[in-house]
C-alpha cells in the first residue's frame, strides 16, 4: 500500500515550496532504496555504502550549515530530512545526524578556517565520513568526568583513552574527539590513519543493526597541533553539537512513528477477525486514535521548535522536551502497532519490531530519557538533580 503520511493538522501548508521539495526528494529515495533493502542490511549488520553515496549526492548532509559547499537549508528542512530518513530506519537517520550535527557542525562552528576548508566540502558530499567521540565506557550521562586525555608534546598532541557507542566509527575518515587537555575539555580532529588510533566495530546489537557502532581507542595517538578545534573549551563544545543532533532526533522519531502507524492502520483495515476488519473494533480504533493524537502533537512540537531554531529563539530545554517526548511517543506507538499486528508484528515482513528495537537506542542516546527529564526538572525548579551535590 502506498505510503500516505499522516498530516492531521495540515503541516504541509506551513512548509515552503523548497521544504516540500526536499522532503519529497528524501521520501522518494527512502521509498525506492532504503525500505526495499533495509531488512537485508539489518540481517547483514551493515550500513550499505551506496546509501552514503546517495546522501552525499542528494546534498542533505550538514543540511542547515552554510558555506563550504554545505546545503544552507532551514532547520525545518533539516527536520524533514531526518523525519523521512528515520521512516526508513533510525540507522540511516543516525548516519546523517552524526555526519551533519556531530562531526560537521563542530568543525563549522569551532574549527579554524583551514579545518573548515579541508574537511567540510568532502563531508557534505559524503566523500569523507565523520564520527563523534564523547561517551566513554564508564562515562555516559556524565561526560564531564571523561578519562580520555590529550597532552601537549610541543610539536604534537598525544591522545590516550577510549570512547564507546560511536556511530560511524569504523567507517569514519575522521573523528571529532573530546578529551581533557590540562583538565579542560577540548575538541580534536583525529584522522583514521593517525598512529595509535583504532576503531573496532561493536557487534551483537539487537538495535540499529544497519548502523555501524564502534569503539574508538587512542593509545599514544599522535596528532598534529593544527587538529585542535580552536573555537571552544569545556562541555559547551559537545553539548552544542548534541543540541543539533537531538533536534534532528525529535523529527526523526516522527518518521519512525509514522511508519508504524501506517503499517498498523493498513493491517487493521485488512485483517479480518470475527468476520470484520479489526479496524472496525473499538479497542483497535482507540489505539489508532491515540497514535494519531501523539504523532500530531509531536509534529506540531517539532515544527515549532524548528521555527525557533531558524529564528534563533530556542533554548536547550525545548530541545530536550522535543527529543524526549517524540522518541517516547514513537516507541509507545511502535509497541502499540506490534500489538495491533498480533503475532505478525514480530516478523520482518513488517517494519514494527525493527523500529521498536531501534527506538530503544534512540531513547537512550543523545541524552537519555531520564537525563532530559532532569534537564527540565532543573529548568522548572532551578535545582540540578544530576548529582547528589547541590
Amino acid at each position: 500500500m502506498t505510503y500516505e503520511a499522516l498530516d492531521f493538522y495540515d503541516i504541509e501548508s506551513q512548509l515552503t515550496e523548497e521544504e516540500v521539495m526536499v522532503r519529497d526528494m528524501v521520501r522518494d529515495w527512502v521509498e525506492d532504496e532504503v525500505i526495499p533493502n533495509i531488512e537485508q542490511a539489518c540481517r547483514d549488520g551493515v550500513f550499505p555504502d551506496e546509501w552514503r553515496v546517495a546522501l552525499g549526492e542528494m546534498g542533505v548532509l550538514g543540511a542547515p550549515l552554510s558555506g563550504y559547499e554545505c546545503p544552507g537549508l532551514s532547520y525545518v528542512a533539516y527536520g524533514l530530512i531526518c523525519q523521512e530518513l528515520e521512516r526508513g530506519d533510525s540507522g540511516v537517520r543516525s548516519f546523517a545526524s552524526v555526519q551533519g550535527s556531530l562531526a560537521m557542525y563542530p568543525i563549522w562552528d569551532f574549527g579554524s578556517e583551514e579545518q573548515k576548508q579541508k574537511y567540510l566540502p568532502g563531508m557534505t558530499r559524503g566523500e569523507l565520513v565523520g564520527c563523534f567521540g564523547l561517551t566513554e565506557p564508564d562515562y555516559g550521562s556524565n561526560p564531564g568526568d571523561m578519562i580520555t586525555r590529550a597532552e601537549d608534546k610541543g610539536d604534537h598532541y598525544l591522545l590516550n583513552g577510549a570512547k564507546m557507542w560511536i556511530t560511524n566509527g569504523t567507517i569514519a575518515d575522521l573523528a571529532i574527539v573530546w578529551a581533557k587537555l590540562d583538565g579542560v575539555i577540548r575538541g580534536f580532529i583525529v584522522e583514521k590513519d593517525d598512529p595509535g588510533y583504532s576503531a573496532p566495530e561493536m557487534t551483537g546489537k539487537h538495535s540499529l543493526k544497519a548502523s555501524v557502532t564502534s569503539e574508538l581507542v587512542f593509545q599514544d595517538c599522535k596528532i598534529p597541533k593544527d587538529r585542535i578545534l580552536p573555537g571552544v573549551e569545556g562541555l559547551k563544545g559537545p553539548f552544542s553539537c548534541l543540541n543539533n543532533a537531538r533536534f534532528g532526533i525529535s523529527w526523526g522519531a516522527i518518521g519512525a512513528a509514522q511508519a508504524c502507524f501506517h503499517s498498523a492502520k493498513e493491517y487493521a483495515l485488512s485483517r479480518i477477525q470475527f468476520d470484520h476488519p479489526i479496524a472496525s473494533y473499538q479497542l483497535v480504533q482507540n489505539k489508532l486514535a491515540w497514535m494519531l493524537r501523539e504523532i500530531t502533537k509531536g509534529q506540531l512540537l517539532a515544527l515549532d521548535l524548528a521555527r525557533k531554531k531558524d529564528d534563533g529563539t530556542w533554548i536547550a530545554e525545548q530541545i530536550s522536551l522535543a527529543k524526549m517526548n517524540n522518541v517516547d511517543m514513537a516507541l509507545e506507538i511502535a509497541r502499540m502497532a506490534r500489538d495491533i499486528h498480533g503475532a505478525n508484528g514480530i516478523l520482518d515482513e513488517y517494519c514494527i519490531m525493527r523500529h521498536m528495537a531501534n527506538l530503544e537506542s534512540v531513547k537512550t542516546y543523545e541524552g537519555t530519557h531520564d537525563i532530559h527529564n532532569l534537564i527540565l526538572g532543573r529548568h522548572i525548579t532551578g535545582i540540578q538533580a544530576f548529582t547528589r551535590e547541590s
Binding site: 523548497e18 526528494m25 522518494d28 549526492e57 542533505v60 544552507g72
Partner: protein, 247 residues
C-alpha cells in the same frame, strides 16, 4: 548546441483516490499530483541530450497553477526555462485545443526537438505528441524505448521487433518507458528551482469539437471466492481453467 522543449503533464498520482461527483471527476478531491510517468522518461532523455550537445531545455506544461509543480520539479533536475500555458476560462479543452496551445509555446521556445511521453497516465490518449508535430509541420517518432543522444538516434518498436532511427530537426519524439534510470533531484537543484521563474502564456485555442458527456468510475469487481484446505485444490484448478481461463 540544441534547443529542446519538453512537454510535461501533471496527472493524478497513480495511487490517488479518484472520485466522480455529478458525472465529473472531482479534481479538488485529488490530493496528490505528479508528472506523468512517460513524460519523466522524455525529460531524462532531453537532459542527457542537452548534456552531450549543449544548449538548453524549455519545460512546457498546460494546466492551472497547481501544474507549476511539475515545472519546478523539472527545474530541480536542470531545466532552464519554464512555461505554463493557461488562461482562465479554458477548461475543459479537447485534445486539438491542447495541441494548438502547446504548439504555440513550442514554437515560441525556438525548440529544435520536442520531447514528450507517448501518452498521459490519466487520459491515455496518446494524441499530444503527434498533434503538436502536425501543427508545427515536424516529423514524429513515437513509442521510443531507447535512445543514444550522441546521434541522436532513437529506438522504436517495429513490425519485426525494433528499429533504430535518426531524424533531422525539427522533430517531435514521444517516449515509452526506457531502460534509462531516472535521475533524482538534489538540494542544489532544488535551490535553483526555487529561484526559477515560470512564464505564463495564454492565447486563442478556438472552439471545441468534442464534449465529455459524463465521467464514470470503473465497474466494481465482483467479490472473490474463498477456498480453504488442500481438498479444494482440484476445484480451484478447475475454476482457473474452465471459468477464469487463465491456465
Amino acid at each position: 548546441m540544441v534547443e529542446i522543449a519538453v512537454l510535461l503533464k501533471q496527472v493524478p498520482d497513480t495511487t490517488a483516490r479518484i472520485t466522480v461527483s455529478g458525472d465529473k471527476v472531482d479534481e479538488d478531491a485529488i490530493t496528490s499530483w505528479v508528472t506523468s510517468p512517460y513524460d519523466e522518461y522524455a525529460l531524462e532523455a532531453a537532459l542527457q541530450h542537452k548534456e552531450v550537445a549543449g544548449g538548453s531545455i524549455t519545460a512546457i506544461t498546460l494546466g492551472p497553477a497547481r501544474a507549476d509543480k511539475v515545472l519546478k520539479d523539472a527545474a530541480a533536475l536542470g531545466v532552464e526555462q519554464l512555461v505554463r500555458v493557461w488562461q482562465d476560462g479554458w477548461e475543459p479543452l479537447d485534445s486539438i485545443q491542447v495541441q494548438a496551445a502547446l504548439a504555440v509555446a513550442v514554437q515560441a521556445s525556438g525548440a529544435e526537438y520536442v520531447y514528450c511521453g507517448k501518452q498521459a497516465a490519466d487520459t491515455n490518449q496518446g494524441s499530444t505528441g503527434p498533434g503538436v508535430a502536425e501543427i508545427i509541420g515536424a516529423p514524429c517518432i513515437v513509442e521510443i524505448t531507447d535512445f543514444d543522444v550522441s546521434g541522436p538516434t532513437f529506438t522504436r518498436s517495429s513490425a519485426t521487433g525494433s528499429e533504430k532511427v535518426t531524424v533531422a530537426a525539427p522533430a517531435v519524439l514521444t517516449f515509452s518507458k526506457t531502460t534509462t534510470e531516472l535521475r533524482r533531484p538534489n538540494v542544489r537543484g532544488i535551490m535553483m528551482a526555487k529561484r526559477a521563474q515560470i512564464e505564463l502564456v495564454g492565447g486563442e485555442v478556438g472552439t471545441t469539437n468534442v464534449s465529455v458527456v459524463r465521467h464514470a468510475s470503473p465497474a466494481q469487481k465482483p467479490p472473490g471466492k474463498t477456498f480453504e484446505g488442500a481438498d479444494s485444490v482440484p476445484e480451484v484448478v478447475g475454476l482457473l481453467r474452465d471459468e477464469a481461463k487463465v491456465i
